[in-house]
Symmetry: C2
Subunit: 250 residues, 2 copies
């Protein structure tokens, strides 16, 4: 084997060729009689395969375009964060920069700009709710992302009911099928947004969206997906299979 | 107005009754002749309305069941985190505890348990990629969440191509339509999971999934949604409308 080929092309440190190199050794031991010739042709063959792999990798790479450093990841959620302001007025704000971040304790993150009215509400009460709207409430969810609680009572304007959580000082949206009651665990200044980590102390869900085992069923909830870039909302599509299962066929 | 009614029921601090109270005053001024009688009937009427609102709120509240402190939020993404191990072997792991967390700098979070092989890869290289599979790769994505890079080369097993990012020391999945190249900005120990905040230094996307303005189009990407609880994968459904727009009709 020509060692210089390996060193000049670090890509191959992890490629399919390595096991073939040990096969080469085995091959040479068995057919030691014509060792020199076999080694020559094998090296030629390996070199060719490497070139083909290189070309394929380059082709795959070339198919991708750089589109810059943007917040374009798919899917993102459409969640409504419920808070009280310093006067106890209920407020709600829609976020898409959010997600689950820990299984134990169960935690979610929601990221808000400091300028928002809800930011002050979370800082004031060290608590918030995450309200998951169904498709039926897409207009209300969008409204919560447009208006500011500084100027109006958004619950009244959207004709939705703020229910005071009994576990955390934050209101939840009575009409939404699933709500998470969260107490503030961490806050991290990332940049334009502050990321709040909330520990989920309880989840309240409408009976109508529960499955047989008592867990919320995504097909009954019909949550809203937010698509950054096009700034559009989408529903849930087809069932693609069970996790920790379909991959076994891989 | 009976002031005691207001104080014993703080719920009404923000309800629709307030404007009615000022209307009552106006009404009483105009019809001062029969002020006492009108005031009596109006208070009776307001009390009745309050009772009805109370009953409606209680009904809404009662419709919800407590299902405990769980990580049940919808939707969550299906993203594959790409890393190199300490020997430079490419590795990939599927995560659903993830999301965008900041617009500027553009950042994402991915949460991993310390026990995972990818955890060590991120700590080693202070970088990772977020790879967004299309529906076509649901089996491969699931496989990346089942197997461990400690035991095998998952890229080889899944017949997918690890491409070395030119911007961060991490590989991305050549076949997936959109990939985010991230350098580690923060790590936060939340509990069972460690949350990594990665700054998106670039996004690579296949030409075939770009829209007219050059941004990735969710309908062309066809990303995978993960549903906790049922542990199922779903596709993207119907377009529900434009964000910062449909809410104006609210």
């Amino acid at each position: 084997m020509n060692a210089s080929i390996i060193t000049v092309n670090p890509t191959f440190k992890h490629c399919h060729i390595k096991p073939m190199a040990s096969s080469t050794t085995l091959f040479l031991t068995i057919f030691s009689k014509h060792g020199y010739k076999i080694s020559y042709f094998l090296n030629l063959f390996i070199g060719l395969i490497r070139k083909i792999i290189n070309l394929i990798e380059k082709k795959i790479k070339d198919m991708k375009q750089s589109i810059g450093a943007k917040t374009l990841a798919f899917p993102t959620p459409t969640w409504v964060v419920g808070t009280y302001d310093m006067n106890g007025k209920p407020n709600a704000m829609t976020v898409a920069w959010a997600g689950i971040c820990c299984s134990n304790p169960p935690c979610v993150t929601v990221s808000l700009r400091k300028a928002t009215y809800s930011y002050a509400g979370i800082m004031e009460n060290k608590a918030f709710t995450v309200n998951i709207p169904s498709e039926d409430y897409v207009k209300e969810a969008d409204y919560f992302g447009i208006a500011s609680g500084r100027d109006e009572n958004k619950f009244e304007a959207a004709c939705l009911t703020p229910i005071r959580s009994e576990l955390v000082p934050a209101p939840y949206v009575g009409e939404f099928p699933v709500v998470l009651e969260c107490k503030l665990l961490h806050s991290l200044e990332v940049g334009l947004h502050t990321m709040f980590v909330g520990e989920i102390v309880d989840i309240k869900a409408e009976e109508s969206v529960l499955d047989e085992s008592g867990n919320p069923d995504i097909e009954k909830i019909r949550p809203i997906i937010y698509s950054p870039g096009s700034r559009s909302y989408y529903g849930i599509g087809c069932d693609l299979g069970k996790a920790f299962s379909v991959g076994k066929e891989c």
